[in-house]
């Protein structure tokens, strides 16, 4: 009985979110992340609620995204310091072999009708995701270690988009997004992204 109730609730939930969208994004890292990784191409899939009245309204959405990054250098020079009787500065390096991000997001946008088929849609999302990183770091006379793992983050991203209704059920859209971490110190996910996509009502 419990299972049936859950299934019904999920069906109602997904019925409410009856627009599915596929978006390709061009990601431009900023801040500390911008030093390490190059701009990359990523993708998102998300669901949006469908409203009969398309003039002006709040529309929630949720989805998932994935970005695979390449680093700007094969080897990054880093510094180690040994302090005993005297100070010695040692030249080390870090080499990354993997740098990916995957995330869930959910948010809301406010649709503003500009023209018959054209809408402006500013919005805000909350992201919950993780970075998956592998690297080898060596600091001569100090340490030589490898790392493979991930860290979770919670982010926020304001966005602005333009939707063009080709038909009532097919929409092409573009978005610009600024992504930031909600926890100030862990800022290694900051990036802007610019995407285009296709949305279909089902």
């Amino acid at each position: 009985m419990k299972k049936i109730v859950v299934i019904i609730l999920l069906l109602n939930f997904f019925t409410a979110f009856s627009q599915v969208a596929l978006k390709v994004i061009y990601v431009r890292p900023t801040g500390p992340m911008g030093m390490v990784v190059k701009p990359a191409i990523g993708g998102e899939v998300f669901f949006k609620a469908f409203e009969e009245d398309q003039d002006e309204n709040f529309i929630p959405r949720f989805g998932i995204g994935f970005i695979k990054f390449a680093t700007r250098l094969d080897t990054f020079p880093v510094t180690g310091v040994i302090t005993s009787n005297t100070t010695t500065v040692t030249p080390g390096y870090i080499t990354y072999s993997k740098f990916n991000m995957a995330y869930f997001f959910g948010g809301v946008e406010y649709r503003i009708k500009l023209h018959k088929k054209l809408y402006l849609s500013p919005g805000i999302d909350i992201n919950v995701g993780s970075k998956s990183i592998s690297y080898q770091a060596k600091y001569p006379l100090i340490s030589d270690q490898g790392y493979s793992g991930g860290s979770a983050y919670i982010g926020i991203r304001p966005r602005i988009g333009l939707d063009f209704f080709i038909t009532e059920d097919i929409v092409v859209f573009s978005e610009a997004t600024r992504n930031m971490n909600l926890v100030v110190k862990e800022a290694f996910i900051a990036h802007n992204d610019y995407g285009i996509g296709l949305r279909i009502n089902f």
């Binding site: 510094t79 500065v89 030249p91 805000i124 600024r178 930031m180 900051a190």
Partner: protein
């Protein structure tokens, strides 16, 4: 509700945009930029290296310094010198010809030495360009008098013993003269091509030398002892008209001899 959303969105977007720290176009802009300007040989055979920081990079500077080796592009840890102060973006150091930093303890004029600067900031480190020098040796020492070799005030003599006294960190040797007895030399630093100054006690400092003879006489302070390294560990020593007190009267030493150590 609509207005509140627009305000929240607008403020958030503005804050996020203003806090955006755009990625630098070149990865090199994140690291310090340092240039090794010059490496010059002094008369003493030391090397003075100068460098300049032209950019701190994306983060504050942490350490600056120099490195040196007989291999091209020396590693930061090779004969590392960390500099404490910048002066208008410039910094300098001296690699002594005689130094505990050098594994060779003195520059070999037949070898090529490579010097370069380096700097670190919060992102990492970078090197300046490398400058190479060869034939590093001190300028010839020219005594103010011309004497025949192996003579003391016209009297010939030979070197008796020439041990390095490592416990006192002095360089001692003796020269036996036919008429003037034994001449004792005690240098306060390693012998090298240089003009040393006499001191009237047996604990000379760097660049000083105590010259005594027989049991009680010694050269007065302030005279010059000209030391020329003719080949590794071979020296020619000249003293011109250096006074000493003998029986309450002043006498003078003129001597020139070759000293193997």
């Amino acid at each position: 509700m609509k207005k509140q959303f627009i305000y929240i969105f607008g403020l958030t977007a503005l804050f996020m945009t203003l806090s955006c720290h755009k990625a630098k176009k070149s990865i090199k802009d994140y690291y310090p930029v340092v240039e090794t300007r010059a490496a010059t040989i002094t008369d003493d055979g030391d090397v003075i290296v100068e460098a300049q920081i032209t950019s701190d990079g994306d983060q504050q500077l942490e350490y600056i310094g120099f490195c040196m080796d007989t291999l091209p592009d020396p590693n930061m840890m090779s004969n590392q010198v960390i500099i404490e102060e910048l002066s208008g973006g410039n910094f300098t150091t001296k690699y002594d010809n005689i130094s505990t930093l050098l594994p060779y303890h003195s520059f070999d004029p037949n070898k090529t030495y490579y010097f370069r600067s380096w700097a670190t900031n919060g992102n990492g480190y970078s090197y300046g360009n490398t400058i190479s020098l060869t034939n590093i040796k001190s300028a010839p020492v020219v005594p103010t008098c011309t004497l025949n070799t192996n003579q003391l005030n016209g009297s010939p003599y030979t070197i008796v013993t020439a041990p390095y006294n490592s416990s006192n960190n002095t360089w001692d040797f003796q020269a036996q003269s036919q008429f003037y007895g034994t001449l004792y030399f005690k240098f306060g630093s390693k012998m090298r091509s240089k003009v040393f100054t006499t001191i009237n006690h047996q604990t000379p400092n760097e660049n000083q030398v105590y010259v005594g003879f027989n049991s009680s006489e010694f050269l007065q302070s302030g005279s010059k002892v000209y030391v020329q390294e003719t080949s590794p560990n071979n020296y020619e020593i000249t003293i011109c008209n250096a006074p000493y007190t003998l029986n309450s009267s002043t006498s003078y030493v003129n001597t020139r001899f070759v000293c193997p150590l």
